[in-house]
């Protein structure tokens, strides 16, 4: 059991939760994630990245988007209530050192896992350039937190409602052109990570992507999270979640993410997903 210390709504369907988890708070490092099971027994186990942690309070923060039945169940929990099971920290921590200049590209909800990585990169002495992108202004999260870390800060929206009207790959390409980039870390939708990798490839800039795949146990047992990296089968939960983006077979990964689409659609239909999210939105107003 893990108590919800605080719940806030960051955008239309994105929530932040601070959960009591002293052991995870103590051990977690940038780049790691947790598995959450909202209620017992019949609930799904879902992987969520750790956005922040407070070792003194003994809490971690997770940021998640309501995309299906299980994330909706989680969003419907209130401060003071508990989630039944939480396991972590999982995955290999991000390799942090003073690389020189690091570009952090965060797309949509991907800004959440990027936050601790950018923080750690900054702390290690790197110059940190942050590119944040989303479809529209309302969907941007953690802008202030990220701005506070960045030496250089670029915001893009697809519709131009805020910052530059560009895809994140456009400023990324400009930075590559300008030169002096030692490392790129990209986290966001698979398609964004794929094109970030394609953008940096011609410039031979080392690029990491943090993958969020289908998982059940999160400890290496089920193999549902398998991806092809450099022609080899890797498990995101124990070998990742970060991999050399130039080696990742993103197309197959995107294909596999659709594995349970028909079942998920049915479940979303059954629980009237959008309606329920909007209701949460109303309540928080």
């Amino acid at each position: 059991m893990s108590r919800i210390l605080r719940k806030t709504q960051l955008s239309r369907d994105v929530f932040r939760m601070e959960l009591e988890a002293p052991e995870i708070a103590r051990e977690r490092k940038a780049g790691q994630f947790v598995i959450v099971q909202v209620d017992s027994d019949f609930s799904e186990r879902i992987p969520l990245t750790i956005a922040d942690a407070d070792e003194e309070i003994g809490s971690i923060s997770i940021i998640f988007q309501v995309v299906g039945k299980s994330t909706l169940k989680l969003a419907q929990k209130s401060t003071g209530e508990s989630v039944e099971n939480i396991l972590g920290p999982l995955g290999m921590p991000t390799h942090i050192e003073n690389f020189g200049t690091v570009v952090c590209v965060g797309g949509g909800i991907g800004v959440a896992p990027m936050h601790p990585i950018a923080q750690a990169m900054k702390k290690a002495g790197n110059k940190v350039i942050i590119i944040m992108g989303s479809r529209t202004k309302e969907l941007l999260i953690l802008e202030d937190e990220m701005r506070a870390i960045a030496d250089e800060f670029i915001i893009c929206t697809d519709d131009g409602s805020y910052g530059r009207k560009d895809l994140v790959t456009i400023p990324l390409k400009e930075l590559c052109e300008r030169g002096g980039i030692d490392l790129v870390v990209a986290i966001g939708p698979p398609i964004m990570m794929k094109f970030c990798a394609e953008t940096t490839r011609p410039y031979h800039v080392k690029t990491y992507a943090s993958l969020n795949t289908i998982m059940v146990d999160g400890t290496g047992m089920c193999g549902g999270c398998r991806v092809t990296v450099g022609g080899q089968t890797k498990f995101v939960c124990v070998d990742g979640p970060e991999f050399d983006a130039h080696q990742v077979d993103f197309d197959t990964m995107m294909l596999r993410l659709r594995s349970y689409k028909p079942q998920e659609q049915e479940a979303n239909h059954r629980c009237h997903l959008q309606e329920a999210v909007d209701k949460l939105q109303e309540q928080s107003k």
Partner: protein, 494 residues
């Protein structure tokens, strides 16, 4: 083997019981008593439900089966048992109708009799050594030791009074047991008995390891598992679920910072193996671990209640020939597959699966394709599984395992239309402990190296079960857990 209705087995046994004069049985009379078949649910009906397939012996059957035992002085069966249960002893008590005595004899050696009676591969262990089977020249006609074991264990549970072992006074020593599968549970119980404090760490939200996520409800009902675990833990073991040693806490920290005097690692077989053939990433291909975990641990066989989805193809191929392959195939049938094929590259004789499971699978209509192996998985335009291309094999010379090596027959490729494929090819070791604990030496497959006292290369750390053995069985894991506990108790007595 053809299916015989449970009621008929009961009637026959009760009739026979009246005809035999048990006071004057000579060995040759005992050999004449027919081996008692396991009553089971009707095959077509059970393929559509999740309840236990094997129903357990009727009392008349237990008596008959137990009377088949010759009570050999040299007891060869005991040598076949990884935990050396006093088999003739418990069978004699069962024949006399003293079931409590019978189960107590088993419990001197095995803490989980209701489970072992169900899942042990008796035909390659105790039953293989049985004089009755040897006399009748058929291991399947050996005394059905596991079925008697199951009966007495179930009897005790149904009486509602499970006996607790004696626990020594507190020693002030503290032991960490990592993993709550058969190895960990056994080690925890034996260390606790010696009076040490025990903390049992489990990564999942439920205890039992492979017995909860892997072995299906229809073969090992969870209420039985829970009851056995509950009984074991009533000895006063502290449980820490959702705790992944290596990540939630480093193993070395348990010793250096948290004050544990010894650690037992029983983390089990980890990563599922794949064939590394074309098309294995297609939608509809999963490991048996994933398929069974979704079904069992996450309860996806109850789709009305469970949030975890499961892929329910109409035509499913399961690749492999072990118990896990049988479990996956039979589970696929129960979650909606209309046709299930088991594809195995050797013959039925080489299949490592428990005999009873293979028979049950056949009765349920699962089709077996022997001497066949997949070459690639073929997908449709949406990246979903459409077919499986296979190739035929023949048996060549024996290999290292003593089984004849299957050799591909060139040009024998053929296509099987399928919409889902489950890979049941065994597991490689989970890298978590070795990744995070460099002090522990592993072999080239990543299995932890342990000496004959189960001690690892790290001081105060012992290991056992599948993480040492590679994929093995519940009873072998229990045997190693027991041996490790003995070593730990010895270490802590110094």
């Amino acid at each position: 083997m053809t299916y015989i209705p449970a009621e008929k087995l009961k009637e026959e046994a009760e009739q026979l019981l009246k005809e035999i004069d048990f006071n004057n049985l000579k060995p040759k009379d005992r050999l004449k008593i027919p081996m008692q078949e396991m009553p089971a649910q009707e095959p077509v009906a059970r393929g559509k439900n999740i309840q236990e397939v094997a129903l357990g012996y009727y009392e008349a059957q237990v008596r008959l089966e137990a009377e088949r035992c010759l009570q050999c002085k040299n007891a060869p069966c005991i040598k076949g048992c990884p935990v050396a249960i006093n088999i003739p002893g418990f069978i004699k008590a069962a024949a006399e109708g003293d079931y409590q005595k019978s189960v107590n004899i088993i419990k001197e050696s095995s803490m989980l009799p209701a489970i072992c009676g169900r899942v042990c591969p008796q035909e390659t262990q105790c039953m293989m050594e049985c004089t009755v089977g040897k006399s009748l020249k058929d291991v399947d006609k050996s005394v059905a030791i596991g079925r008697i074991e199951r009966f007495v264990a179930d009897w005790e549970r149904e009486q509602g009074k499970m006996s607790l072992p004696h626990i020594a006074p507190p020693t002030g020593k503290k032991v960490a047991v990592i993993g709550s599968g058969p190895a960990g549970l056994t080690a925890a119980a034996d260390v606790r008995k010696a009076g040490h404090e025990v903390v049992l760490f489990e990564a999942f939200h439920k205890l039992g390891g492979v017995m909860i996520y892997g072995i299906p409800e229809f073969r090992l009902p969870k209420v039985i598992l829970d009851k056995e675990i509950e009984n074991l833990l009533s000895m006063g073991v502290e449980i820490r679920k959702n705790f992944l040693v290596g990540r939630t806490r480093k193993l070395s920290d348990l010793i250096e910072k948290d004050g544990f005097d010894a650690v037992f690692v029983g983390t089990g077989a980890g990563l599922p193996n794949f064939m590394n053939i074309e098309g294995e990433s297609l939608v509809g291909v999963s490991s048996a671990n994933e398929f069974l975990t979704r079904a069992n641990l996450m309860r996806a066989y109850e789709p009305e209640k469970a949030d975890t989805p499961i892929f329910t193809g109409k035509r499913t191929a399961v690749v492999g020939g072990g118990n896990v392959a049988m479990d996956a195939a039979r589970m696929a049938l129960r979650v909606g597959a209309e046709e299930v094929y088991v594809v195995y590259r050797r013959t039925e004789k080489e299949m490592p699966a428990r005999r009873e499971e293979v028979e049950h699978a056949k009765e349920e209509g699962i089709k077996f394709m022997f001497l066949t192996s997949p070459k690639r998985v073929i997908g449709d335009d949406d990246g979903k599984v459409k077919a499986l291309e296979c190739v035929k094999y023949e048996l060549g010379e024996p290999d290292d395992s003593g089984r004849r090596r299957p050799v591909e027959i060139k040009g024998s490729e053929f296509i099987l239309e399928m919409d889902s494929v489950i890979m049941a090819l065994g597991n490689s070791s989970n890298p978590l402990i070795s990744q995070t604990t460099p002090e522990i030496n592993v072999n080239k497959w990543g299995n932890i190296l342990a000496d004959d006292t189960q001690k690892t290369s790290m001081e105060r750390v012992y290991a056992g079960g599948d993480i040492v053995l590679g994929a093995a069985t519940v009873i072998l894991a229990m045997g190693e857990g027991r041996k490790a506990a003995e070593s730990i108790n010895k270490l802590l007595a110094e």
